[in-house]
């Protein structure tokens, strides 16, 4: 990012320190339990991947700027100051070996939300210019093109045309006054375009009034992955502008974990204003339709299914019940993996890790944890609700020679809709 410097990084880190961070850092007793909750540690046994260790740059600044003895030590020249080299050394810890999954935050005995602190540490790293290439590129594309993967409107329009032909549905675009504005992730537009067809079919059957926006269709937020709040805010603002222009009641976040976190929880705080519309995940919408009896299925899945909770939707997002309600509706044989739900193990690819080629080997190593979960259940198929989880899980299953197909919950529901 332009204008990156150690000084900017230092100040960015300072700004990030709030009461929760200070409470957390005051309480850490170096017990190491967070390591055993983090799949980057459990599958490599390398102590440097201990979650609390990843926030060392933040801790140093907290100590020297905001504590009695720390400030004294700094004034007397007794403490080791944070250096640019420290930040450079921490780049792989903060970006390659953390997906912001938040499992560490659930097990820390003194209650530290470590993922919260790692997210904040990224702000300093990025401002100092120590962020991975892949993420920098994605962020630049997101800002200039509107999509981190360079997906432009004509491409989306072509996918829409294909979808309308294939499923005999209309995909509304720029419809003012629609109830819902649907966002899409570039991953879906490029790799899983069936998602568009799925929501079109479901909404047609359920009589839902919805629209896409030609001015803002991207849900993912690279600004958050990399940790540059200004960019993250700009990307959110585009969605807000589109939602306000089209006067929708709610914005739907697609099957992408971090997109949901970005727009639902960070969004208003990034742009500094409450939203005048609701934000919901597609699973929340589908569950509401289910509860209203508006989803009519012709049949159900019979194969043994299990569900992978995407971290940003489940544990960090709060959408835990809805997928289960939907699975019980659409599947005859749904079984839970061990540690399913809010304690689910991360797929290993979120938070910018899959955008980072340097982290490929590590990412695939961590899949062993997911494999262990799957081995305990031995399902016929694995269901999830995040395109990034999906593609990484597919890669992992292939790497570990496991013959389990990956399904999207939304697409599966669409497949079983009764022909009206």
């Amino acid at each position: 990012m332009s204008g990156a410097s150690f000084e900017r990084g230092y100040n960015a880190l300072k700004e990030q320190i709030d009461a929760p961070v200070a409470a957390f850092l005051s309480s850490c007793v170096h017990c190491g339990m967070c390591a055993e909750a983090c799949l980057f540690f459990t599958e490599t046994r390398d102590p440097k991947y201990t979650p609390i260790h990843k926030v060392e740059p933040l801790r140093k600044i907290w100590k020297q700027e905001y504590t009695f003895w720390g400030k004294l030590g700094k004034a007397l020249g007794l403490s080791k100051p944070l250096t640019d080299q420290d930040l450079a050394d921490w780049e792989t810890l903060v970006y390659d070996s953390c997906t912001l999954c938040g499992r560490c935050s659930m097990v820390c005995p003194v209650g530290n939300d470590i993922a919260y602190m790692i997210r904040k540490t990224r702000e300093g790293m990025a401002a100092a210019g120590h962020a991975p290439e892949g993420l920098i590129g994605a962020t630049k594309r997101a800002v200039t093109i509107g999509s981190p993967m360079g997906v432009k409107l004509p491409a989306l329009q072509a996918q829409i045309r294909h979808t309308e032909q294939e499923f005999d549905v209309k995909v509304p675009v720029d419809v003012e006054g629609a109830d819902y504005l649907c966002m899409l992730s570039s991953m879906e537009i490029m790799n899983f375009p069936e998602y568009i067809g799925s929501i079109a079919r479901i909404f047609k059957q359920a009589g839902v009034s919805w629209t896409l926006s030609s001015e803002a269709f991207e849900a993912t937020n690279s600004g958050i992955q990399i940790g540059v709040s200004d960019i993250a805010a700009e990307l959110v603002q585009r969605i807000v502008d589109a939602a306000e222009k089209l006067k929708v009641k709610a914005v739907i976040s697609p099957e992408c974990g971090h997109a949901y976190m970005a727009i639902r929880w960070e969004g208003p705080n990034l742009v500094g204003k409450k939203f005048g519309f609701k934000v919901v995940h597609i699973l929340e919408v589908l569950d509401e339709l289910r509860a209203q009896g508006k989803l009519k299925l012709k049949d159900r899945e019979t194969q043994k299914l299990t569900y992978h909770d995407p971290c940003q939707i489940g544990r960090r997002g709060g959408v835990l019940e809805q997928p289960r309600n939907l699975l019980n509706m659409v599947a005859e044989n749904f079984v839970e993996m061990p540690e399913a739900g809010k304690m689910n193990w991360c797929c290993g690819a979120g938070g910018g890790v899959s955008s980072n080629e340097r982290a490929d080997e590590l990412r695939l190593k961590t899949f062993a944890r997911k494999k262990a979960q799957l081995d305990a259940v031995n399902p016929d198929a694995l269901m999830s609700a995040c395109s990034n989880c999906r593609i990484h899980l597919e890669e992992g299953l292939e790497e570990y020679h496991m013959d389990i197909p990956l399904l999207s919950l939304t697409e599966t529901i669409a497949e079983h809709l009764s022909e009206k």
Partner: protein, 219 residues
Amino acid sequence: MTDAEFLLWVRGPAFNTALFIMLAGIVIRFLEILFLGRKTNLAEARGSEVAGGFRTILRRSVPDMDSFHRSGFTIIAGYVFHIGLFVVIFLFVPHILVFERTLGISWGGLPSNIVDATTVVTIVALLAVLVHRIKDPVMRMLSKFSDYLVWLVTILPLITGWMAFNRVGLSGATLIGVHILSVELLMILFPFTKLSHAFTLFLARWYNGAIAGYKGVQS
């Protein structure tokens, strides 16, 4: 300095100084944390921060099954010495008398031989915890000088207290004096090291629970 002078000093000015530093330190630590503040959350809440905060304060004391399997030793040894410390500090009649003198309130204690046995168990647990800290790769990597210092100032009062009670080693008066001095060392370091977790963990767990509760997740 004679034994009597030493004892008078350690029970008098030294104790008052240590108490003052400890209380001032706790206040400073609290203010340092709270003055940093927290931005108002503008996202639409799904659940209650307050309920979440309180819930996590309580529930975080109970580890989840997977953590228990993975960090069993840390958890069990940790509980043993924490409970041991609680029993030794707060349920030993001579200590309760000190609280009565200082705070004006008192409560019932346990028989001294039980406290004595608890002291031994706690010392053993702390020794085990030190060995674990040195041997476990994660803890070894995380541990700094202050971790070992804090361990020392925690075990010293236990050892010196046990020695004083069992009349082992130096003369009775000196032993008690040394024991009280070791406690004063602990008191001075209490707010300025990770020992502060004893009171800051309520804030940390609160914030954790509040942040999660806002989103409708029980953490």
